[in-house]
């Protein structure tokens, strides 16, 4: 019997893979407290909660029995999809399996860093910013290094430059009537139709709906010119406006 198997005959192959996965580190086993916190988070960043797979980590909890089923239900109503449990005693492992979830042994310590520990950002208070009718925002002035200007519900128009080290974000499109030297993230809630437009391109980072290009990836011929950036076939396309 030959070991050589025709690939077409195989129903599947196993592959090892490293997938990015959000770990939900539980500090409380109380489903009500978890529900409260999730509701708050959901309104802050709805883009995150789109049937996102999560691993429930119970390492920090010192409780042999957990209301795992209720915790999972809370997660699902908030569009989080628990796929596995990490850590916990034997009863926890058994109930995870009973719920059709995987079980991982506890992590070896400090490897996992908290995703949410983002350093506080100074939001630009100066200014000259007014809400537009569309739920967007018009910002007049230079967005300086270290500042962040965002339009969480619509388009962002900057009448001025966005300097290196500054960040502009919008749920919709971003228009910069000046030089764009910092980071511009359009479509932050997943709008793939959003675009970025600027008078002079030197951007550190361009992103539309999570698809990004760094300065290094940008065709040097386009630097310094006025361009539009749009998503085409899941690729960021940059074209000259001149």
């Amino acid at each position: 019997m030959s070991l050589k198997v025709d690939r077409a005959d195989m129903a599947f192959t196993f592959k090892g893979g490293m997938l990015p996965m959000t770990v939900m580190e539980l500090a409380s086993a109380d489903p009500e407290r978890i529900r409260e916190q999730l509701s708050g988070k959901l309104s802050q960043s709805p883009a995150f909660f789109q049937h996102t797979p999560v691993v429930l980590s119970v390492e920090k909890l010192d409780e042999p029995h957990l209301a795992l089923e209720r915790i999972c239900a809370v997660c699902r109503t908030h569009k989080l999809l628990p796929v596995a449990v990490r850590g916990g005693a034997d009863p926890v492992k058994q109930s995870a399996w009973a719920l059709g979830l995987g079980w991982f042994p506890p992590s070896d310590g400090a490897r996992a860093r908290a995703l949410e520990e983002v350093p506080p950002v100074e939001t630009a208070t100066l200014g000259a910013s007014e809400p537009a009718a569309s739920g967007g925002r018009i910002y007049r002035g230079t967005v300086r290094s270290g500042q962040q200007v965002s339009a969480p519900d619509g388009d962002l128009v900057v009448i001025g430059a966005v300097n290196a080290g500054a960040e502009v974000l919008a749920a919709g499109s971003i228009h910069v009537y000046g030089a764009l030297r910092g980071r511009a993230l359009a479509g932050i809630h997943g709008d793939t139709e959003a675009g970025i437009f600027c008078r002079e391109l030197h951007a550190e980072l361009l992103s539309v709906a999570g698809n990004y290009k760094r300065l290094e990836d940008i065709d040097p011929h386009l630097l310094g010119s006025s361009v539009q950036v749009a998503l085409r076939d899941a690729q960021l396309g940059i074209t000259s406006l001149a």
Partner: protein, 272 residues
């Protein structure tokens, strides 16, 4: 009421203290009663640049903590009548400064002086934030290099948000750009950013341009602010800066390459 001007930059070593000393001297020479305060607690330098390091008894921290009166800590400049220095403490750190203490010192000085210059420490932490907090105007010192320009940009952001004027919604702090260590030859060779690039990125009014000069180094080491050296290019450039600060229109100097002489043009063989 005195005008409070902070001399700041974000980045260290760009010439904040040199500029604070030179501009304070210039303001006093022009007849304004001026005091310059060193906010760099723990890394005191202003006294050296002003040449009064041997006469320091009490300092800003002593005054704030009630250990000395303001008049005991103020040092009268030997060369110019209207000029006083309030030194920083070398043995303490920035945590010894309190917001209320600084406000009280500035209020008291404000009754006697026309100009209060605050020489900010580098960085964007407590010391730098306290130095700028009560300012009416800011002189942002920048060298013609990318890191300095970016740090100045960051400081401009803080001036627009972390000052008393910003927090109270008053008229914003008036921002001035002071470019120091400008070397027209190296700019021409592309080793340094040029004037227009810096102005475009920072988008604020230029109050002065100080050429890179041997006179500055000499002045610092001798403890005589370069403004006194009126034969030097840097001394003249600081005096121009002071005139602009006082609202006069003075044409910009020292930013263009020196024209070559006829002889060097004839024998230099170059295109220009």
């Amino acid at each position: 009421m005195a005008k409070i001007i902070v001399v700041t930059s974000g980045k260290g070593g760009v010439g904040k203290t040199t500029s604070a000393a030179a501009i304070a001297t210039g303001l006093a020479l022009r007849g304004n009663k001026t005091v310059v305060i060193d906010f760099d607690v723990g890394l005191r330098n202003l006294d050296l640049i002003m040449g009064c390091e041997r006469r320091v008894v009490y300092d800003l921290v002593n005054v704030i903590q009630g250990e000395a009166g303001l008049n005991q800590a103020l040092i009268r400049d030997k060369r110019v009548d209207n000029l006083h220095i309030l030194p920083a403490s070398q043995t303490r750190d920035k945590d010894a400064l309190t917001s209320e203490g600084v406000e009280k010192v500035l209020d008291t000085l404000g009754k006697d002086f026309d100009y209060i210059l605050c020489d900010s420490p580098a960085g964007i932490e407590r010391g730098a934030q306290l130095a700028m907090y009560y300012a009416d105007e800011a002189i942002v010192v920048t060298n013609p290099e990318v890191s300095s320009v970016r740090d100045s940009d960051r400081i401009l952001g803080l001036l627009a948000s972390k000052t008393r004027r910003a927090e109270r919604g008053e008229d914003p702090v008036k921002e001035h750009l002071l470019i120091t260590r400008y070397n027209a030859t190296r700019v021409d060779h592309g080793d340094m950013l040029n004037l227009e690039d810096i102005r475009e990125i920072l988008a604020i009014d230029l109050i002065g341009l100080i050429p890179e000069s041997e006179a500055v180094l000499r002045a610092s080491n001798q403890g005589v602010p370069v403004t006194h050296d009126d034969n030097s290019d840097a001394g003249q450039a600081y005096m121009d800066t002071v005139s602009r600060l006082l609202g006069e229109e003075v044409p910009l100097r020292f930013h263009e390459l020196q024209k070559k002489s006829l002889l060097s043009r004839m024998f230099g063989g170059g295109r220009r």
